[in-house]
Subunit: 654 residues, 2 copies
């Protein structure tokens, strides 16, 4: 579908012709494609688009009506909002993330009912805006705290950031109407308050930084970009008051350009890094760009779970020390995974390096997609890698008290993850491919169509595959430039050995480069390029510095991390008895694998769990199924582990 | 010293002649000895008594004056206390714990300056008591919340509990004066408010339960005991409102007598269990006693660190699931160790089973004693088993924001541990020995003297040893009953094989029983009984269900858990490179051991810490010193680990 197919959902004027995409840097190696240039045609990703459109978005809307978070705006508009505000300080942001999701979804589909719902929700938000542009339901109303009186914990600018991102989605899908107008007034108010000559301050929760950068790009108003830059530069200079968790919690310990690794609250750290990269790219600040890239590198190398999940401390939702990655205490917040993708995507656009696309794929498939339940009506907030006890499903109408529910929950007191999943899935194909002056790059595989222009000439192709379950990928060219097509196909790191490619047309050439294979050729319409990635299951061992999984092994299959779930074990066998025989072959199954397991005998347990060396007897169990991690906990309460002890390791002498 | 040696420190009358001890059950297998019956004479424990008397008690007093926690009482007495209250809701309890420490210390020493300080502090507390007996600096004053308006988090009864325990210490050291009078009025007020016919409620933080039980025993007023019983029985019936951490946080999920294991907030769980056992013992409630014993068993077997420390969740200071014991996230709060000793001691008195004494020894030497710095002026609140990065010492005049400082800190916003250490060390010898109708039981070894009566006849003996560093223990008998002495010497579980005993008098007989050796004989004055415990260092392996330390091994020496601290490694070697060669001999040193280590080469680290199997090369490092865990972090910032990876385990194929 192209933009011209869309119905006008509200009075609007066309914005300038930048791609219909969430991130459009002014410079960079790769150019993002817009919603009019890339379309999912079926398969795995169509199912997720449908889940989002038919379940998740509506689920979030229903819940926010039920718990009064939308009504907060109505009360504010009526002048009757006060200490009866529903929810914690930053629930406005959930409404904005849902508006962002709806805007992208409207950019994809012509759902009139959704358009009406969207317009109505925007109207309720807009009605709450004050005459000077300020718009927040938790501050400044009678009986509430003063505006900007609690920058450490108030989340005001965080909420404004999500409002601006919702406006960017609306602008980039072709409508400069009510919400962008509201957002301009908010951004102008912020510029007056915090811009040059204003107060030297930052928000305790970064998010305004990437939002202002993108809003500047989408509106062309450079003041907003300057404000983003100021917020990035002020961070780490101690403008925030001391808090219990220390200044690193909100990255106020070290200036962004001096930091070596991401630290503190994971979502905060990643949103900030994304905004810092936006600033670096558009101001050609190489030192800042390198600083962010270095932080990404060190964080991925030392502070990231195999699923791409990050954050190992529940207490403050923060990174632990290097290699402190306990699977049973993995926080791995869904929002941190989404924020990680936001950062990796910006680095990919800036550098073109395939490792960023690799990490997006890992995080998307194994962390973010684990969050929604198969029916899209319950979510993981945290994403543990080892569930020791079978959880109790939250009641379908209860707001979950705790972030670390061991079962997916329909809603949370802090419910950032469901709406973040919704806005991410709403523009998911935009992460699949990019273009540059020479050609097109395919970073992710699925059933989709690309129709864009390279050097002024049309390039059209379709991708067809059962990926991530199967490694056979067919790219059919429908239109290529007269001088020939240059196409880049990402080869994931796990496929470097074993990936093959071919084309029936002998004039099409292939060259394996760092992280991708470069395809060149005339590529007449109908030319099919085939890529085969080796998705047979494989054993993956941890760096020995990750003490918590020493002597254990994971199974991956293609881009999917697999998990052993108790419901797949024979009756009477518990997950803490199981060992994986690394010498026996793994077999691929439709979506997962089977592995040969053995079982050790644990009695009722001794009086004291530490003692002299002794050998634990084990018995072969034969092959047992492993499923994709992202699908676990969809068959009722269970226990689960991603890393399984290796059979006959020294760990058994205990 | 006997009680008659003590100067009167305030107008007082003698209480009934129960032992001068903190816990005096009305029934039980063993009888606690009082301060007049057991006296430290030198060595290891004298050093700790001196540290407490000369540093810790004064340090706590100085800090509480400095931060205004004592001044709160002055303001309350003057009627000027309000919203300017210093500190969090339960800082009164720190003053009470210090008063308890001082009372026990005054029971031991005749320090007139301390007596004057004590009396002055009591007077300041007493002046703040209201006419109806209520006494709290955080509730009920102008601008403050109403009394008992926040039982979930207010800690009012928790504070009263510590006040009662301070009064018990005063009563049991021979003085029924001002503080016991204050405490009676508090207890009477509580009985009116929460007793039969009063409100059916409990405090969110247990502590009032064991305190009331003991105050009842010390005063003979059975109403207080009845109130303790009511509080125990009400727990687990959902009288507390829902909180973020769920009802198990304050043990309101299940009635005490129905629970299988300790859970929720560790200190809360243990204080409650101690009070429940007090109730069970004095009411001969076998089901309740068995429930507490079962909870202790399951907790020790599955939810306890090798140091005796408990609590693996920082977020809510709680137990994790069974076998969820990550060393680098060990919370192991010092107060939880103290609470664990309180519970084990009560179980030991009730049953006489040596396993409880074993666990007291482990927890005292390896968890509680780790808290105070060698100079007694800084403390660990949490006691990690694996320090990954060298911490930054807190500034000597700063109140530490965080519980989980990686270095000992002089004071904390929640500063429960220093005063808890003070009150524990102040009566430490009372845990060393007990008596029954037949004889005397020695549970712990050190330089001390016992002088008591058994069956109406005097028993006097001295113990001399360099334990815990050396295993040779000499018990010299000075007085024994005419019919002969029966003496029980605990054989710790780790010494069951290898312990030897002897006596030059061939008429003295020995019989090895469960956990102890029973000695019988005429034992003329001067008879020396020698016990030799095998304290050579040994390897200790974890249960394989403790995933976080799979493939790792600890070294213990006698009752001491040893640790490898980075300051003992050669220059250039980091703790995450080290492997322990379990085939090479361990050698004992003065206080610790040497072990043969090797070093694996970690480069700068790969881009991604998960991958295919490969072997890591290692190089022998030779013998390296391990020190007693409790002494670590006394030589500047360092890294440390209790469990070290085993050389050449499968963990290296990664």
């Amino acid at each position: 579908m192209t933009l011209s197919d869309q119905p006008a959902v509200a009075p609007s004027r066309r914005t300038h012709p930048s791609p219909s995409a969430p991130v459009v840097p002014s410079a960079g190696v790769l150019r993002p494609l817009g919603m009019d240039e890339i379309t999912v045609t079926g398969g795995f990703w169509r199912e997720y688009q449908s889940l989002n459109a038919e379940s998740i978005i509506g689920h979030c809307l229903e819940w926010m009506e039920r718990v009064g978070w939308i009504r907060n705006f109505d009360l504010a508009a009526a002048g009757t909002l006060g200490s009866d505000h529903a929810g914690i300080e930053f629930v406005d942001s959930e409404v904005y993330k849902l508006l962002e999701a709806m805007a992208w979804e409207l950019g994809r589909s012509a759902d009139e009912a959704l358009a009406a719902t969207y317009s109505s929700l925007v109207a309720r938000v807009a009605a709450a805006q004050e005459s000077d542009g300020y718009l927040h339901t938790s501050f400044g109303h009678p009986g509430q705290r003063e505006r900007f009186s609690d920058l450490e914990w108030g989340h005001e600018l965080y909420c404004f950031g999500h409002l601006l991102q919702a406006a960017v989605a609306r602008l980039r899908t072709g409508h400069d109407d009510d919400l962008p107008a509201v957002a301009r007034r908010v951004a102008d108010m912020l510029y007056r308050e915090f811009g040059p000559g204003g107060r030297t301050a930052v928000c305790g929760h970064p998010e305004i930084e990437p939002a202002l950068a993108e809003f500047a790009r989408a509106t062309g108003d450079k003041r907003y970009f300057e404000l983003a830059r100021l917020f990035v530069e002020r961070r780490g200079t101690g403008t925030l008051a001391p808090i219990e968790y220390g200044p690193e919690y909100f990255q106020d310990d070290v200036p962004v350009r001096d930091a070596e690794v991401l630290r503190g609250h994971a979502v905060r750290a990643l949103y900030l890094a994304a905004g810092a990269l936006d600033v670096a790219v558009d101001t050609d600040d190489v030192a800042l760009k390198n600083a962010v890239a270095r932080q990404w590198e060190n964080t991925v190398a030392r502070r990231t779970y195999i699923t791409g999940g990050i954050g190992s401390h529940h207490r403050d939702e923060s990174f632990g020390a290097d290699f402190e990655l306990p699977p049973d205490r993995a926080y791995s917040e869904t929002c941190a995974g989404i924020a990680s993708i936001m950062l990796s995507w910006r680095l990919l656009l800036a550098t073109g390096e395939a490792r960023y696309a690799d990490h997006i794929e890992r995080t998307l498939l194994n962390n973010v997609l684990a969050s929604p339940r198969a029916d899209g009506r319950a979510f993981f907030y945290t994403n543990t890698l080892h569930q020791r006890t079978a959880g109790v499903p939250p009641h379908p109408t209860d707001v979950s008290k705790r972030a670390d529910s061991s079962m997916r929950a329909p809603w949370f007191e802090v419910s950032c993850c469901p709406t973040n999943v919704a806005r991410t899935l709403a523009n998911i194909p935009l992460y699949f491919a990019t273009a540059d002056d020479a050609g097109v790059q395919l970073h992710h595989y699925g059933d989709y169509r690309v129709d864009t222009r390279v050097g002024g000439e049309r390039v059209a192709l379709t991708v067809a595959t059962d990926y991530p379950f199967d490694g056979e990928i067919a790219v059919t060219i429908h239109a290529a430039p007269l001088a020939g097509l240059r196409l880049s196909l990402r080869i994931p790191a796990w496929a470097r050995e074993g990936a093959t490619w071919r084309c029936a047309d002998p004039t099409v050439t292939f060259e394996l480069l760092e992280g991708h294979v470069a395809v060149s050729g005339a590529c007449a319409a109908g030319t099919v390029i085939r890529l085969d990635l080796p998705v047979q299951p494989r054993l993956t061992f941890p760096d020995p510095r990750i003490d918590a999984i020493r002597g254990e092994v994971a199974v991956e299959r293609g881009p999917l991390v697999l998990a052993l779930e108790s419901v797949d074990l024979p009756q009477g066998v518990t997950l803490d008895q199981v060992r994986l025989d690394t010498s026996a072959p793994l077999e691929g199954t439709a979506a997962g694998a089977t592995a040969h397991l053995s079982v050790v005998a644990h009695g009722a347990g001794g009086e004291w769990p530490y003692g002299g060396a002794h050998t634990v007897a084990s018995e072969a169990l034969g092959p047992v199924s492993l499923i994709p991690y992202y699908r676990w906990a969809n068959r009722g309460p269970s226990t689960m582990r991603v890393f399984t002890p290796i059979a006959d390791s020294n760990s058994e002498t205990a």
